[in-house]
Amino acid sequence: MKTNIKSIIPALAAVAAGVALCTACGSEVKITKPSIDAQIIIDRSRTVETEAELRDLERLANEYELAYRRHINGAAAERFKELTADVLADAANVMQQYQQQQQTDQELRAEIDDKLAFLDRVWQLELTTPEQDSRKLEQIAAEAAEAESQLAALAAERTRITEALDAVGYDDDNADELLERYGNQMDEVDRRYAEVTADLEEIMTRVSLYRLAYKLQRGEVFPPVTEPEPEPENNESETCDEDCM
């Protein structure tokens, strides 16, 4: 039994040494030649699509460079860096372009979806008679006028607060208090302005909905265009002439 334990000890020591070596090495990469290792980076750079992938690749290239510095020399590290610098820069550009294109695509797709959703609303709008719908449109126009007057009032209020803010002198005893008060008032006015603007946009959307709904659902123009009655032909002069004759 004793013999058996003694025979195991060297093997255990070898395993422990191996583990210790691996731990000491950490995630350090295995280097061969700068041109060969650079090819690994070049190959991987072709598949970079996300920022995380780019950062991983840059980290790997950095690990190679450090390994060359530690185990070979600075010249080999510089050679490796030189071989991979352009590729990493290109990968960053490609990734940026890819992300930009994805964003553009998302925006375009969202616009298309919004337009289709709007058309869906148009088709679902229940129309009655042109007269009744005209009355609804009049109500909407009144709401729009109300919103516009609110916006004008808020703009005037904004001007008043700006003037009051400008009038506050830094040597005033209660300058801080005044600035805070006017700042809060301005925030409130801005908030209301944004709310009313959104309401007005919704009102204008309703107007467009009615117009388009008449066009698509009934093939008619809305609100109905009332053509001016043709003026009766004035034959007086002719009559007169005839009479005169």
Partner: protein, 90 residues
């Protein structure tokens, strides 16, 4: 007999469903026909004669968008979206 009928019905349903899931498969002319495809799809959506027609046109347009995104992607997809976006003017 009853079991056979049930099995056949289930198989037919499953085939029908799997066919629906296939969606649009673009052919080799899809890039060249991109302008025409987009214009036609938009026209179908805008000039639909009824709500049902519009819904069907909307679905087709969405399916084509997905097909161009998944099967071609890149600049072709972006261009397809741009044409559709311009085409959906009312």
């Amino acid at each position: 007999m009853k079991r056979v009928v049930i099995l056949l019905t289930a198989a037919a349903l499953s085939m029908a469903c799997s066919r629906d899931k296939e969606g649009i498969v673009l052919d080799e002319f899809a890039v060249g026909e991109m302008y025409d495809n987009a214009a036609t799809l938009c026209e179908e959506a805008i000039c639909a004669g009824s709500y049902e027609e519009f819904k069907s046109a909307r679905e087709r347009l969405t399916e084509y968008c997905e097909a161009y995104r998944t099967q071609l992607g890149g600049d072709v997809y972006t261009e397809f979206l741009e044409i559709c976006n311009e085409g959906l003017t009312f």
